[in-house]
């Protein structure tokens, strides 16, 4: 990749260990601002692990050690004075399984702004909830049932609710860990459409098992294999003429 100044995240020589097992062997990657970047690769290749390095979700895992630099607009997120809580308001995350809190739809959105002291309950909060739901393209479906539990929604709606919940903390980057793996094709298409809209304002990084999804929804694609970043480039290039034979084999389904 060229050294574009428009990079949101810059990763340099990132290595990660689970106890003695080295899961990532030094990854260098620039994630451009306002684009959708997809990580693909076979199971266990380290793409999810890498994604979780980007907002330090791996901190929770005992025995997990990270070395190298992850810079969010030039600021090292692994610096000792970085507050993880603060970091996660800049880099939000959406998970594989839709996981709304078993509370009302309204509460799901309002929770994070409240605990971060961004806003108190009241008309402002109502407006924020509405905006977040609108940005996640789910407002029309839920505006009449904000007091109903978020868990009563369909899978696709739940996932969009989770995206809305992440948007509510006004992040710069949204990480998505296989956000559509539990959804049907229509719900998947809605999420992909949503990503396309959201990238106007946010930088989106998505891990996916579904190569077609990476092809459809992303601007840049990175192929991981056995803890190495094999190839990274424009999605059109990766999917029509990858430079690396291993990428080619994986993308065409000849993996092995």
């Amino acid at each position: 990749m060229s050294t574009d100044t428009n990079n949101k995240l810059t990763i340099r020589d990132l290595k990660l260990w689970y106890d003695d097992f080295e899961a990532l062997h030094g990854v260098d990657l620039d994630i451009p601002s306002g684009k959708v970047t997809a990580f693909i690769g076979p199971s266990g290749c380290g793409k999810s692990t890498f994604l979780r390095c980007l907002n330090r979700m791996n901190d929770r895992i005992p025995g997990c050690r990270v070395q190298g630099d992850v810079l969010l607009e030039g600021n090292d997120i692994y610096a000792p004075d970085v507050d993880v809580v603060q970091l996660r308001t800049h880099i939000g995350m959406v998970f594989q399984k839709p996981n709304p809190f078993p509370k009302s739809i309204y509460e799901n959105i309002a929770y994070a702004p409240r605990i971060h002291g961004m806003m108190q309950d009241g008309p402002d909060m109502d407006a924020l909830v509405e905006t977040a739901l609108k940005k996640a393209s789910i407002w029309d479906e839920v505006k009449d049932k904000l007091k109903q539990p978020g868990t009563a929604l369909s899978g696709g709606q739940q996932q969009r609710l989770c995206i809305a919940r992440t948007i509510a903390i006004q992040p710069d980057v949204i990480l998505m860990d296989e956000p559509c793996s539990a959804l049907d094709p229509i719900a998947t298409a809605k999420i992909e459409e949503l990503m396309d809209e959201l990238k106007q304002e946010y930088t989106i990084v998505i891990v996916t098992h579904n190569m077609q999804q990476a092809a459809r929804a992303s601007d840049f694609t990175a192929y991981f294999y056995l803890g190495d970043l094999i190839e990274y480039g424009k999605t059109t290039d990766i999917f029509t003429a990858p430079k690396n034979q291993r990428t080619e084999d994986y993308i065409t389904g000849r993996f092995g």
Partner: protein
Amino acid sequence: MTEHTIKRFEDELTALKEKILCMGGLVEKAVRRSMKSVLQVDPGKAQKVIDRDRAINALEVEIDEMTRSMLALRQPAAGDLRLVIATIKIVTDLERSGDLAEGIADAMLQTKDHPIIHTSSLETLAELVIEQVKYALDAFASEDFEKALDCVAKDKKVNKTFKAFQRENLTYLMEDPRQITAGLLASAIGKNLERIGDHAVNIAEMVIYMVKGHDIRHVDHKTAAALISGELSED
């Protein structure tokens, strides 16, 4: 390249390649045979070319059907995608070449009463073009981009030879007005040959796209070579 995980997809890709080569073989034969009929003044051969064109057309339809279903059902990517796209294009070029060979055979049948006397330039041109077609098909068969580049490079010589042939033909026409019909037919045959050569170039370019992923159409030969060797990036 390693085997495809889905065996049937692998089989389909192999079958597709084989069909293209089969069609290419028929076209090459048609070109050869049509020129033989011209040079040996053998109307039987010419008729054979015209009869056999139906087989080429049938193959075109069959291959189109295969690529369509592969695009719809297999969603090929990367190398597979390039193969399918190249196939779609190559098939058209082959079919056109087949038609042009048929055109040559048709012209030969019209020379019954007006035999072409001066055939040596036409023969040279035919040899060059047939070689070009052979190169393109070989390049496709062995996925050999260097051979494809050679094929593209030959086009200059073909064009030069074609121009020389036209000038020569024109002098014969001017010499002897009785030769006008034969001369015009010879000119048409020459034109068809030259266009067959152009289609061969198209095929070769598609082979390069298929193997290397670079689109070298409408760029000069030097730039193309630089692109392929990776010295230049596409943007």
